[in-house]
Structures are given as structure tokens and as C-alpha cells.
Symmetry: C2
Subunit: 178 residues, 2 copies
């Protein structure tokens, strides 16, 4: 049966979970799909386009956030939902950063928009979206880079990025939702 974009993205995600971005070359991907590397270029114009499609799949997994009593609670919810989706796939932060730069729709933007509509302050939605998105990706890029380095050099000090993430998030939310 013929290949299609969605099957390629599926296999790419599988490869990412097994070996991260360095293990996901066009060649390993083609091998896994029982196809020549050049076949992939009929479905995607470049590896970067393929990665953007992967990013969109990851972003589609960001859980929607239910309405809550305070704006801060909702903003904390979106941020954590995005972090969970992005941190769940190896090198996911780098891939999603690429996808957003390429123009993928940011689910945080819509969620923040709804929160501002519910709790007022709609004129701050853009700034809040930028702040939360960049924060989540910034922390998670560093975490996954650190993870990759530690895999090669076991002497590296470990860092608890989950609590670091929460600590930084609370510092941000302290006044944001006012």
C-alpha cells in the first residue's frame, strides 16, 4: 500500500521515542517504512516540513483546559498542558519551537484568549500568550538538551526540571492574572 503523510509522521514519532532527533534521519525513517529515502521527498518537500508536521501532531495533543474560578488557575492549566505534551516526546520542545516559527497554530493562544474573555483583560492576551509559550518552550528545550548531554556524559549533575518549571511558573503567575 502507498505511503501517506500521516504514516510518515507516525513512524517519525516512533523513531523519536526510540532514539531522539539524532536517531530520526530521513534514512532511518525510510528504512523503517521499507522505502528509499528519496521516496519521502514525494510526500514532504524537506525534513523541516516533515518536522513541522510532527510539531502539529504534538501540539494537537495539548489537553484543553476547563473553565476555573480564577484566571491564574486557567493559565497554570494551559501552561502545564503544553509542557506535558511537549516534554512527552524526546526533543519535542525543539521540534515544536520549529513548528511555531514555521507558522503552526499555537493552542496556548486560543486557551489564553478564552481565559481573558471569561475573566476580563482581553487586551493582555497577546502578551500573556507570548510569555507563557516562550517560558514553556524555554524550560523544556533546556531540560531536553540537558537530558541528551547527560546520556553521553553520566558525570553531569542532574536537575529536577519539573519542580524548576513549577517554581518559575508561579513566579510568572504571581501578578499576571491581576
Amino acid at each position: 500500500m502507498a505511503l501517506n503523510k500521516s504514516a510518515v509522521v507516525d513512524t517519525a514519532l516512533g523513531l523519536l521515542h526510540e532514539a531522539g532527533l539524532p536517531g530520526m534521519s530521513m534514512r532511518t525513517l525510510a528504512t523503517r517504512l521499507n522505502v528509499q529515502p528519496s521516496a519521502l521527498y514525494w510526500h514532504f518537500p524537506s525534513k523541516q516540513a516533515l518536522l513541522t508536521a510532527v510539531a502539529e501532531r504534538v501540539l494537537a495533543d495539548v489537553a484543553p483546559v476547563e473553565a476555573r474560578a480564577s484566571a491564574a488557575d486557567e493559565l497554570r492549566g494551559v501552561s502545564r498542558a503544553m509542557r506535558i505534551a511537549v516534554a512527552g516526546v524526546p526533543d519535542g520542545a525543539e521540534i515544536v519551537a520549529l513548528g511555531l516559527a514555521a507558522g503552526a497554530v499555537n493552542p496556548v493562544a486560543e486557551a489564553v484568549g478564552r481565559t481573558c474573555a471569561r475573566h476580563g483583560g482581553g487586551e493582555r492576551a497577546a502578551g500573556l500568550t507570548t510569555a507563557l509559550t516562550a517560558y514553556v518552550l524555554g524550560v523544556t528545550v533546556e531540560e531536553q538538551t540537558h537530558h541528551n548531554l547527560a546520556a553521553v556524559d553520566p558525570a553531569m549533575s542532574r536537575v529536577d526540571y519539573d519542580s524548576r518549571f513549577d517554581e518559575g511558573l508561579e513566579a510568572m503567575l504571581a501578578g499576571m492574572a491581576g
Copy 2:
């Protein structure tokens, strides 16, 4: 005369300004230094170690922030100083993110520490440092990725990251310094 680390880092920065990270291969670097690629491995164990040294040089250029009347003013100052240093070199955000993950000292941490000492709230220094650092790198990684994509595909929409950065920063600072 013999090569040394600092000359290699100088040349690497020059190459970055000319062609970004994709243009800075160990081979182009060696050619520019009139040396064989393998010669670089006497001075640095890997390209990643070299990039960490580049990151440290970039971070050393973060301008120190003078004392100001409010904590918010000082935090805005450090954030902007870091952004200027990092955005000043092509792909600088990605390189600095790698450097920090590898354990480079973060100048934001010291500056935030001094701000907290002056204006009180020392127990929040860690969260503030995480938030501001991840934010600056998150926005700037996206900006530089976007810039690289737009260079290849001129049809891409342009984004004003300077004002986006300021907008997000104000959203963060709104309550942080309270």
C-alpha cells in the same frame, strides 16, 4: 603560531555572523584557521564543547545592570541585556541554551540575586531566574528560527519580535516584582 581555544572561539563567532550555525562546521572552521579539521580536536573534545565555549563568550557580554528604584525596573534591565547579547549573534539563543544546559554560569541568576537582595524577596530569586531566562531564550530561539526559515522561503510572513518580546516581558513583570 599554535592554535588556542580563544582563537578558535573568535573564528567560530566570525563564521556564525557570516553564515549562522549551518555555516559553522568543523571543516569550514578548520579551513578558516588554515588547519586540518582533526586539529580542532586537540583543543576541544567535541563540537558541542566548542559551542559551549562560544556560549560562555556570548554570556560574558551580557551588560551588567545598575541599581534602580524598583525591582521591576532592574528585572526588565537584566532581561533586555540578556536578549541583546543573545540575539546579537545568529543562532545565539540555541547555542546559549546548549551552554546553560551544559552548566555554564547564568549571569541572570547573579543579577536577579542582587535585585532581590536590594529590594527584598530573596526566597523568590530562583523562580524569577528560571522564568526570565527561559522566557528570553524561548522568544529568541523562535525569532532566530523564524529568521532562518524566512531566509529560505521569502514568502513567509514577517514578525516583529522586538515588540513581541517587550509585550510578553511586561505581562511577566506585571506582578513579579510585587
